[in-house]
Symmetry: C2
Subunit: 218 residues, 2 copies
DNA sequence: TAGATTGTTAATCGATTAACAATC
DNA sequence: TAGATTGTTAATCGATTAACAATC
Protein backbone atom coordinates (compact mmCIF):
# COMPACT_ATOMS: atom_id res chain seq x y z
CA UNK A 1 0.00 0.00 0.00
CA UNK A 2 2.62 2.46 -1.10
CA UNK A 3 1.81 3.53 -4.62
CA UNK A 4 -0.56 6.38 -3.82
CA UNK A 5 0.01 10.14 -4.34
CA UNK A 6 -2.83 12.26 -5.61
CA UNK A 7 -5.43 9.57 -5.93
CA UNK A 8 -8.68 11.15 -7.07
CA UNK A 9 -11.49 11.74 -4.59
CA UNK A 10 -13.84 9.59 -6.69
CA UNK A 11 -11.61 6.61 -6.01
CA UNK A 12 -11.25 7.39 -2.29
CA UNK A 13 -15.00 7.64 -1.88
CA UNK A 14 -15.42 4.14 -3.23
CA UNK A 15 -12.94 2.60 -0.79
CA UNK A 16 -15.26 2.50 2.23
CA UNK A 17 -17.83 0.74 0.08
CA UNK A 18 -15.32 -1.90 -1.02
CA UNK A 19 -14.36 -2.27 2.62
CA UNK A 20 -17.97 -2.87 3.56
CA UNK A 21 -18.64 -5.41 0.82
CA UNK A 22 -15.46 -7.28 1.67
CA UNK A 23 -16.50 -7.41 5.33
CA UNK A 24 -19.81 -8.93 4.17
CA UNK A 25 -17.96 -11.53 2.15
CA UNK A 26 -15.82 -12.43 5.16
CA UNK A 27 -18.94 -12.82 7.24
CA UNK A 28 -20.33 -15.34 4.76
CA UNK A 29 -17.05 -17.23 4.71
CA UNK A 30 -15.90 -16.31 1.19
CA UNK A 31 -12.12 -16.36 1.04
CA UNK A 32 -11.40 -15.31 -2.55
CA UNK A 33 -13.14 -13.12 -5.09
CA UNK A 34 -12.50 -11.98 -8.64
CA UNK A 35 -12.97 -8.40 -9.76
CA UNK A 36 -15.70 -9.72 -12.06
CA UNK A 37 -17.73 -11.31 -9.28
CA UNK A 38 -17.25 -8.33 -6.96
CA UNK A 39 -18.32 -5.97 -9.73
CA UNK A 40 -21.50 -7.97 -10.23
CA UNK A 41 -22.37 -7.69 -6.55
CA UNK A 42 -21.53 -4.01 -6.24
CA UNK A 43 -22.97 -2.84 -9.54
CA UNK A 44 -19.66 -1.57 -10.91
CA UNK A 45 -17.43 -2.73 -13.73
CA UNK A 46 -14.57 -5.14 -13.10
CA UNK A 47 -12.30 -2.69 -14.86
CA UNK A 48 -13.10 0.05 -12.42
CA UNK A 49 -12.40 -2.14 -9.43
CA UNK A 50 -9.02 -3.17 -10.82
CA UNK A 51 -8.18 0.43 -11.70
CA UNK A 52 -9.18 1.64 -8.25
CA UNK A 53 -7.17 -0.96 -6.38
CA UNK A 54 -4.13 -0.49 -8.55
CA UNK A 55 -3.86 3.11 -7.43
CA UNK A 56 -2.47 1.62 -4.23
CA UNK A 57 -0.73 -1.54 -5.35
CA UNK A 58 -1.31 -4.95 -6.85
CA UNK A 59 -3.30 -6.85 -4.28
CA UNK A 60 -4.50 -9.57 -6.60
CA UNK A 61 -3.04 -12.57 -8.27
CA UNK A 62 -3.49 -13.47 -11.93
CA UNK A 63 -5.73 -16.44 -12.47
CA UNK A 64 -6.89 -16.39 -8.84
CA UNK A 65 -8.41 -13.04 -8.00
CA UNK A 66 -8.19 -11.33 -4.63
CA UNK A 67 -7.92 -12.75 -1.15
CA UNK A 68 -10.94 -11.28 0.63
CA UNK A 69 -9.42 -10.99 4.08
CA UNK A 70 -6.15 -9.53 2.81
CA UNK A 71 -7.87 -7.00 0.57
CA UNK A 72 -10.18 -5.96 3.41
CA UNK A 73 -7.17 -5.40 5.65
CA UNK A 74 -5.24 -3.49 2.97
CA UNK A 75 -8.15 -1.14 2.29
CA UNK A 76 -8.47 -0.57 6.03
CA UNK A 77 -4.82 0.44 6.09
CA UNK A 78 -5.22 2.73 3.08
CA UNK A 79 -8.15 4.47 4.78
CA UNK A 80 -6.13 4.69 7.98
CA UNK A 81 -8.53 2.76 10.17
CA UNK A 82 -5.69 1.12 12.08
CA UNK A 83 -4.82 4.14 14.21
CA UNK A 84 -7.23 6.28 16.21
CA UNK A 85 -7.00 10.05 16.06
CA UNK A 86 -8.64 12.02 18.85
CA UNK A 87 -11.98 13.61 17.94
CA UNK A 88 -14.57 15.73 19.69
CA UNK A 89 -18.26 16.25 19.04
CA UNK A 90 -19.76 19.70 19.37
CA UNK A 91 -23.52 20.06 19.71
CA UNK A 92 -25.26 17.36 21.71
CA UNK A 93 -28.76 17.82 20.34
CA UNK A 94 -30.75 15.00 18.75
CA UNK A 95 -28.39 14.46 15.84
CA UNK A 96 -25.25 14.80 17.91
CA UNK A 97 -26.47 12.34 20.53
CA UNK A 98 -27.61 9.87 17.88
CA UNK A 99 -24.21 9.97 16.23
CA UNK A 100 -22.29 9.67 19.46
CA UNK A 101 -24.37 6.67 20.46
CA UNK A 102 -24.62 4.89 17.12
CA UNK A 103 -21.14 5.10 15.77
CA UNK A 104 -18.23 3.07 16.82
CA UNK A 105 -15.70 5.79 16.10
CA UNK A 106 -12.83 3.48 16.96
CA UNK A 107 -13.75 1.31 13.97
CA UNK A 108 -13.50 4.31 11.70
CA UNK A 109 -10.13 5.64 12.70
CA UNK A 110 -11.12 7.98 15.50
CA UNK A 111 -11.33 8.10 19.26
CA UNK A 112 -14.20 10.22 20.53
CA UNK A 113 -12.77 11.92 23.60
CA UNK A 114 -15.19 14.77 24.31
CA UNK A 115 -18.75 16.00 23.77
CA UNK A 116 -19.68 19.66 24.19
CA UNK A 117 -22.79 21.81 24.27
CA UNK A 118 -23.81 25.24 25.54
CA UNK A 119 -27.28 24.28 26.75
CA UNK A 120 -27.26 23.98 30.59
CA UNK A 121 -30.03 21.39 30.39
CA UNK A 122 -27.80 19.16 28.27
CA UNK A 123 -24.45 19.75 29.99
CA UNK A 124 -23.70 16.88 32.34
CA UNK A 125 -25.85 14.41 30.42
CA UNK A 126 -24.29 10.97 30.05
CA UNK A 127 -23.91 9.84 26.43
CA UNK A 128 -22.38 6.42 26.16
CA UNK A 129 -19.16 6.55 28.16
CA UNK A 130 -18.87 10.34 27.95
CA UNK A 131 -20.45 13.19 29.83
CA UNK A 132 -21.49 16.33 27.94
CA UNK A 133 -19.15 19.19 28.89
CA UNK A 134 -19.72 22.93 28.84
CA UNK A 135 -18.68 24.35 25.47
CA UNK A 136 -17.03 27.20 27.38
CA UNK A 137 -14.30 24.75 28.25
CA UNK A 138 -13.45 23.79 24.66
CA UNK A 139 -10.35 25.99 24.50
CA UNK A 140 -8.76 24.46 27.56
CA UNK A 141 -9.75 20.97 26.48
CA UNK A 142 -8.25 21.35 23.02
CA UNK A 143 -5.01 22.78 24.35
CA UNK A 144 -4.68 19.74 26.57
CA UNK A 145 -5.89 16.93 24.30
CA UNK A 146 -5.28 18.27 20.77
CA UNK A 147 -8.22 16.75 18.90
CA UNK A 148 -7.53 16.58 15.17
CA UNK A 149 -11.12 16.28 14.09
CA UNK A 150 -14.46 17.70 15.21
CA UNK A 151 -17.95 16.44 14.53
CA UNK A 152 -20.03 19.57 14.08
CA UNK A 153 -23.65 18.96 15.03
CA UNK A 154 -24.54 22.48 16.09
CA UNK A 155 -27.31 24.62 14.59
CA UNK A 156 -26.45 26.67 11.55
CA UNK A 157 -26.32 29.89 13.54
CA UNK A 158 -23.56 28.60 15.79
CA UNK A 159 -21.59 26.75 13.14
CA UNK A 160 -19.48 29.51 11.63
CA UNK A 161 -18.17 30.90 14.88
CA UNK A 162 -17.54 27.43 16.31
CA UNK A 163 -15.70 26.32 13.18
CA UNK A 164 -13.37 29.31 13.33
CA UNK A 165 -12.71 28.79 17.00
CA UNK A 166 -11.84 25.14 16.48
CA UNK A 167 -9.62 25.87 13.50
CA UNK A 168 -7.62 28.27 15.65
CA UNK A 169 -7.34 25.54 18.25
CA UNK A 170 -5.69 23.25 15.73
CA UNK A 171 -8.61 21.17 14.52
CA UNK A 172 -7.96 20.41 10.86
CA UNK A 173 -10.80 18.10 9.92
CA UNK A 174 -14.54 18.50 10.28
CA UNK A 175 -17.41 16.11 9.93
CA UNK A 176 -19.99 18.78 9.35
CA UNK A 177 -23.69 18.13 9.89
CA UNK A 178 -24.71 21.77 10.24
CA UNK A 179 -26.38 23.56 7.36
CA UNK A 180 -23.43 25.88 7.24
CA UNK A 181 -21.23 25.30 4.20
CA UNK A 182 -17.69 26.18 5.14
CA UNK A 183 -15.56 24.22 2.72
CA UNK A 184 -15.02 27.33 0.61
CA UNK A 185 -13.96 29.75 3.28
CA UNK A 186 -11.09 27.93 4.91
CA UNK A 187 -8.74 26.41 2.39
CA UNK A 188 -6.51 23.72 3.82
CA UNK A 189 -9.12 22.63 6.32
CA UNK A 190 -10.58 19.22 5.53
CA UNK A 191 -14.35 19.17 5.57
CA UNK A 192 -16.65 16.27 4.98
CA UNK A 193 -20.05 17.87 4.64
CA UNK A 194 -23.07 15.72 5.42
CA UNK A 195 -25.95 17.80 4.17
CA UNK A 196 -28.78 15.43 4.94
CA UNK A 197 -31.37 17.84 3.62
CA UNK A 198 -29.55 17.99 0.27
CA UNK A 199 -29.72 14.22 0.14
CA UNK A 200 -33.44 14.17 0.90
CA UNK A 201 -34.10 16.84 -1.72
CA UNK A 202 -32.23 14.77 -4.29
CA UNK A 203 -34.50 11.84 -3.48
CA UNK A 204 -37.44 14.20 -3.82
CA UNK A 205 -36.33 15.10 -7.33
CA UNK A 206 -35.88 11.48 -8.31
CA UNK A 207 -39.29 10.43 -6.99
CA UNK A 208 -41.03 13.30 -8.80
CA UNK A 209 -39.13 12.53 -11.97
CA UNK A 210 -40.20 8.88 -11.78
CA UNK A 211 -43.87 9.71 -11.29
CA UNK A 212 -43.79 12.11 -14.23
CA UNK A 213 -42.40 9.35 -16.41
CA UNK A 214 -45.06 6.93 -15.16
CA UNK A 215 -47.76 9.49 -15.92
CA UNK A 216 -46.48 9.92 -19.46
CA UNK A 217 -46.23 6.18 -20.05
CA UNK A 218 -49.87 5.58 -19.17
CA UNK B 1 -38.75 24.89 -15.84
CA UNK B 2 -39.61 22.67 -18.76
CA UNK B 3 -36.42 21.87 -20.59
CA UNK B 4 -35.29 18.89 -18.55
CA UNK B 5 -35.16 15.21 -19.71
CA UNK B 6 -32.23 13.11 -18.64
CA UNK B 7 -30.36 15.70 -16.68
CA UNK B 8 -27.27 14.10 -15.17
CA UNK B 9 -27.19 13.17 -11.51
CA UNK B 10 -24.15 15.39 -10.97
CA UNK B 11 -26.27 18.40 -11.89
CA UNK B 12 -29.22 17.29 -9.76
CA UNK B 13 -27.01 16.84 -6.72
CA UNK B 14 -25.88 20.45 -6.98
CA UNK B 15 -29.41 21.85 -7.05
CA UNK B 16 -30.10 21.58 -3.30
CA UNK B 17 -26.86 23.43 -2.66
CA UNK B 18 -27.83 26.25 -5.01
CA UNK B 19 -31.18 26.33 -3.27
CA UNK B 20 -29.49 26.69 0.09
CA UNK B 21 -27.11 29.44 -0.99
CA UNK B 22 -29.94 31.35 -2.60
CA UNK B 23 -31.97 31.10 0.61
CA UNK B 24 -28.97 32.56 2.43
CA UNK B 25 -28.82 35.44 -0.04
CA UNK B 26 -32.51 36.14 0.46
CA UNK B 27 -31.98 36.19 4.19
CA UNK B 28 -29.32 38.86 3.82
CA UNK B 29 -31.55 40.87 1.52
CA UNK B 30 -29.67 40.35 -1.75
CA UNK B 31 -32.09 40.56 -4.65
CA UNK B 32 -29.88 39.89 -7.67
CA UNK B 33 -26.74 37.87 -8.27
CA UNK B 34 -24.49 37.09 -11.22
CA UNK B 35 -23.19 33.63 -11.95
CA UNK B 36 -19.73 35.05 -11.33
CA UNK B 37 -20.47 36.29 -7.82
CA UNK B 38 -22.40 33.12 -6.93
CA UNK B 39 -19.53 30.99 -8.21
CA UNK B 40 -17.11 32.88 -5.97
CA UNK B 41 -19.25 32.23 -2.92
CA UNK B 42 -19.89 28.58 -3.69
CA UNK B 43 -16.44 27.66 -4.91
CA UNK B 44 -17.57 26.66 -8.40
CA UNK B 45 -17.02 28.17 -11.84
CA UNK B 46 -19.52 30.62 -13.29
CA UNK B 47 -19.63 28.45 -16.39
CA UNK B 48 -20.79 25.46 -14.42
CA UNK B 49 -23.57 27.40 -12.74
CA UNK B 50 -24.86 28.68 -16.07
CA UNK B 51 -24.61 25.24 -17.63
CA UNK B 52 -26.44 23.66 -14.71
CA UNK B 53 -29.29 26.15 -14.70
CA UNK B 54 -29.69 26.01 -18.45
CA UNK B 55 -30.56 22.33 -18.25
CA UNK B 56 -33.91 23.59 -17.01
CA UNK B 57 -34.38 26.91 -18.76
CA UNK B 58 -33.03 30.41 -18.99
CA UNK B 59 -33.67 31.98 -15.63
CA UNK B 60 -31.26 34.86 -16.01
CA UNK B 61 -31.11 38.07 -17.93
CA UNK B 62 -28.14 39.28 -19.94
CA UNK B 63 -26.38 42.19 -18.37
CA UNK B 64 -28.28 41.75 -15.11
CA UNK B 65 -27.74 38.27 -13.71
CA UNK B 66 -30.32 36.27 -11.81
CA UNK B 67 -33.13 37.36 -9.56
CA UNK B 68 -32.38 35.62 -6.27
CA UNK B 69 -35.94 35.05 -5.14
CA UNK B 70 -37.13 33.87 -8.53
CA UNK B 71 -34.21 31.50 -8.99
CA UNK B 72 -34.72 30.10 -5.50
CA UNK B 73 -38.37 29.45 -6.29
CA UNK B 74 -37.61 27.88 -9.67
CA UNK B 75 -35.06 25.49 -8.20
CA UNK B 76 -37.58 24.55 -5.53
CA UNK B 77 -40.05 23.70 -8.30
CA UNK B 78 -37.45 21.69 -10.21
CA UNK B 79 -36.68 19.68 -7.07
CA UNK B 80 -40.40 19.23 -6.47
CA UNK B 81 -40.49 20.85 -3.04
CA UNK B 82 -43.88 22.41 -3.72
CA UNK B 83 -45.92 19.25 -3.24
CA UNK B 84 -45.68 16.85 -0.33
CA UNK B 85 -45.56 13.11 -0.95
CA UNK B 86 -46.45 10.83 1.95
CA UNK B 87 -43.47 9.19 3.64
CA UNK B 88 -42.94 6.82 6.54
CA UNK B 89 -39.97 6.20 8.80
CA UNK B 90 -39.06 2.67 9.81
CA UNK B 91 -36.78 2.12 12.78
CA UNK B 92 -37.21 4.55 15.66
CA UNK B 93 -33.83 4.08 17.30
CA UNK B 94 -31.43 6.94 17.99
CA UNK B 95 -30.88 7.86 14.36
CA UNK B 96 -34.52 7.45 13.38
CA UNK B 97 -35.73 9.61 16.23
CA UNK B 98 -33.12 12.27 15.57
CA UNK B 99 -34.16 12.48 11.93
CA UNK B 100 -37.87 12.54 12.68
CA UNK B 101 -37.32 15.35 15.18
CA UNK B 102 -34.77 17.42 13.30
CA UNK B 103 -36.09 17.48 9.81
CA UNK B 104 -38.90 19.52 8.55
CA UNK B 105 -39.96 17.00 5.93
CA UNK B 106 -42.62 19.33 4.59
CA UNK B 107 -39.86 21.73 3.49
CA UNK B 108 -38.23 18.96 1.51
CA UNK B 109 -41.18 17.69 -0.43
CA UNK B 110 -42.48 15.05 1.94
CA UNK B 111 -45.13 14.57 4.57
CA UNK B 112 -44.05 12.23 7.35
CA UNK B 113 -47.22 10.29 8.17
CA UNK B 114 -46.01 7.29 10.17
CA UNK B 115 -43.16 5.98 12.32
CA UNK B 116 -42.69 2.27 12.95
CA UNK B 117 -40.57 -0.01 15.10
CA UNK B 118 -40.68 -3.57 16.38
CA UNK B 119 -39.31 -2.89 19.86
CA UNK B 120 -42.17 -2.95 22.43
CA UNK B 121 -40.29 -0.48 24.60
CA UNK B 122 -40.31 2.04 21.74
CA UNK B 123 -43.79 1.43 20.33
CA UNK B 124 -46.16 4.09 21.61
CA UNK B 125 -43.42 6.64 22.17
CA UNK B 126 -44.32 10.16 21.09
CA UNK B 127 -41.94 11.63 18.49
CA UNK B 128 -42.92 15.14 17.50
CA UNK B 129 -46.53 14.95 16.43
CA UNK B 130 -46.43 11.22 15.72
CA UNK B 131 -46.64 8.14 17.88
CA UNK B 132 -44.41 5.15 17.10
CA UNK B 133 -46.54 2.32 15.71
CA UNK B 134 -45.97 -1.42 15.76
CA UNK B 135 -44.12 -2.48 12.61
CA UNK B 136 -46.50 -5.43 12.41
CA UNK B 137 -49.09 -2.97 11.18
CA UNK B 138 -47.04 -1.64 8.27
CA UNK B 139 -48.90 -3.68 5.66
CA UNK B 140 -52.31 -2.38 6.66
CA UNK B 141 -51.00 1.17 7.01
CA UNK B 142 -49.42 1.18 3.55
CA UNK B 143 -52.51 -0.25 1.89
CA UNK B 144 -54.50 2.57 3.40
CA UNK B 145 -52.14 5.52 3.06
CA UNK B 146 -49.86 4.55 0.14
CA UNK B 147 -46.57 6.13 1.22
CA UNK B 148 -44.28 6.67 -1.76
CA UNK B 149 -41.08 6.93 0.22
CA UNK B 150 -39.62 5.27 3.30
CA UNK B 151 -36.84 6.44 5.56
CA UNK B 152 -34.97 3.29 6.51
CA UNK B 153 -33.27 3.65 9.88
CA UNK B 154 -33.30 0.01 10.91
CA UNK B 155 -30.25 -2.08 11.77
CA UNK B 156 -28.50 -3.80 8.93
CA UNK B 157 -29.92 -7.19 9.85
CA UNK B 158 -33.50 -6.00 9.41
CA UNK B 159 -32.93 -3.83 6.36
CA UNK B 160 -33.11 -6.36 3.53
CA UNK B 161 -36.33 -7.99 4.60
CA UNK B 162 -37.96 -4.64 5.40
CA UNK B 163 -36.93 -3.16 2.06
CA UNK B 164 -38.47 -6.06 0.16
CA UNK B 165 -41.66 -5.86 2.17
CA UNK B 166 -42.01 -2.13 1.51
CA UNK B 167 -41.26 -2.50 -2.19
CA UNK B 168 -44.08 -5.01 -2.47
CA UNK B 169 -46.32 -2.53 -0.70
CA UNK B 170 -45.64 0.06 -3.38
CA UNK B 171 -42.87 2.12 -1.80
CA UNK B 172 -40.65 3.25 -4.65
CA UNK B 173 -38.13 5.53 -2.96
CA UNK B 174 -35.86 4.94 0.01
CA UNK B 175 -33.79 7.23 2.13
CA UNK B 176 -31.53 4.53 3.40
CA UNK B 177 -29.47 4.95 6.57
CA UNK B 178 -28.91 1.27 7.22
CA UNK B 179 -25.56 -0.32 6.39
CA UNK B 180 -27.36 -2.49 3.88
CA UNK B 181 -26.60 -1.54 0.30
CA UNK B 182 -29.64 -2.37 -1.77
CA UNK B 183 -29.36 -0.11 -4.80
CA UNK B 184 -28.00 -2.96 -6.89
CA UNK B 185 -30.60 -5.59 -6.11
CA UNK B 186 -33.82 -3.80 -7.00
CA UNK B 187 -33.59 -1.95 -10.28
CA UNK B 188 -36.25 0.68 -10.73
CA UNK B 189 -36.40 1.43 -7.02
CA UNK B 190 -34.98 4.83 -6.15
CA UNK B 191 -32.49 4.72 -3.32
CA UNK B 192 -30.63 7.56 -1.74
CA UNK B 193 -28.03 5.86 0.40
CA UNK B 194 -26.68 7.78 3.36
CA UNK B 195 -23.74 5.73 4.48
CA UNK B 196 -22.52 7.90 7.31
CA UNK B 197 -19.70 5.52 8.13
CA UNK B 198 -18.42 5.76 4.54
CA UNK B 199 -18.38 9.50 4.94
CA UNK B 200 -16.44 9.34 8.21
CA UNK B 201 -13.95 6.89 6.69
CA UNK B 202 -13.39 9.27 3.79
CA UNK B 203 -12.58 12.02 6.29
CA UNK B 204 -10.26 9.57 8.03
CA UNK B 205 -8.36 9.05 4.78
CA UNK B 206 -8.10 12.77 4.14
CA UNK B 207 -6.82 13.54 7.63
CA UNK B 208 -4.21 10.78 7.45
CA UNK B 209 -3.17 11.93 4.01
CA UNK B 210 -2.73 15.49 5.26
CA UNK B 211 -0.60 14.47 8.24
CA UNK B 212 1.62 12.34 6.00
CA UNK B 213 2.20 15.35 3.78
CA UNK B 214 2.95 17.52 6.80
CA UNK B 215 5.41 14.94 8.07
CA UNK B 216 7.19 14.89 4.71
CA UNK B 217 7.31 18.67 4.48
CA UNK B 218 9.09 19.04 7.82
C1' DT C 1 -25.16 53.73 -26.41
C1' DA C 2 -21.65 51.12 -23.52
C1' DG C 3 -21.05 47.68 -20.05
C1' DA C 4 -22.34 43.62 -18.10
C1' DT C 5 -23.67 39.16 -18.16
C1' DT C 6 -26.24 35.65 -20.01
C1' DG C 7 -27.10 31.25 -23.02
C1' DT C 8 -24.75 28.16 -25.79
C1' DT C 9 -21.28 26.07 -28.64
C1' DA C 10 -16.62 24.30 -28.78
C1' DA C 11 -12.37 22.72 -26.31
C1' DT C 12 -10.40 20.49 -22.51
C1' DC C 13 -9.99 17.61 -18.92
C1' DG C 14 -10.70 13.65 -16.06
C1' DA C 15 -12.93 9.44 -15.13
C1' DT C 16 -14.68 5.14 -16.82
C1' DT C 17 -14.53 1.28 -19.85
C1' DA C 18 -12.41 -1.87 -23.06
C1' DA C 19 -8.70 -4.58 -24.55
C1' DC C 20 -4.95 -7.52 -24.02
C1' DA C 21 -0.38 -9.12 -22.83
C1' DA C 22 1.60 -10.98 -18.61
C1' DT C 23 1.38 -14.58 -15.40
C1' DC C 24 -0.39 -17.36 -11.66
C1' DT D 1 -0.16 -27.11 -19.88
C1' DA D 2 -4.74 -24.65 -20.30
C1' DG D 3 -7.84 -21.53 -18.08
C1' DA D 4 -8.59 -17.73 -15.43
C1' DT D 5 -7.83 -13.34 -14.05
C1' DT D 6 -4.87 -9.78 -13.03
C1' DG D 7 -2.25 -5.19 -13.98
C1' DT D 8 -1.91 -1.74 -17.28
C1' DT D 9 -2.22 0.75 -21.56
C1' DA D 10 -5.30 2.70 -24.93
C1' DA D 11 -10.02 4.23 -26.31
C1' DT D 12 -14.26 6.17 -25.02
C1' DC D 13 -17.31 8.72 -22.68
C1' DG D 14 -19.13 12.38 -19.87
C1' DA D 15 -18.50 16.38 -17.22
C1' DT D 16 -16.26 20.74 -16.63
C1' DT D 17 -14.28 24.87 -18.40
C1' DA D 18 -13.46 28.39 -21.83
C1' DA D 19 -14.94 31.38 -25.31
C1' DC D 20 -17.97 34.41 -27.46
C1' DA D 21 -21.98 36.09 -29.92
C1' DA D 22 -26.52 37.59 -28.40
C1' DT D 23 -28.88 40.89 -25.77
C1' DC D 24 -30.61 43.22 -21.72
Amino acid sequence: MLKRENVSLSVIRRLPRYHRFLADLMRTGTTRISSKELSRRMGLTASQIRQDLNCFGGFGQQGYGYNVEQLHREIGLILGLDKQYPAILVGAGNIGRAIALNFDFSQMGFDLIGIFDIDPSIIGMQIGSLKVEDAAGIDAFCREHHPRVAVLTVPRSAAEQMAEQLIHLGVSGFWNFSHYDFSVKYPGVLVENVHLSDSLMTLCYMVRDLSEKETRDN
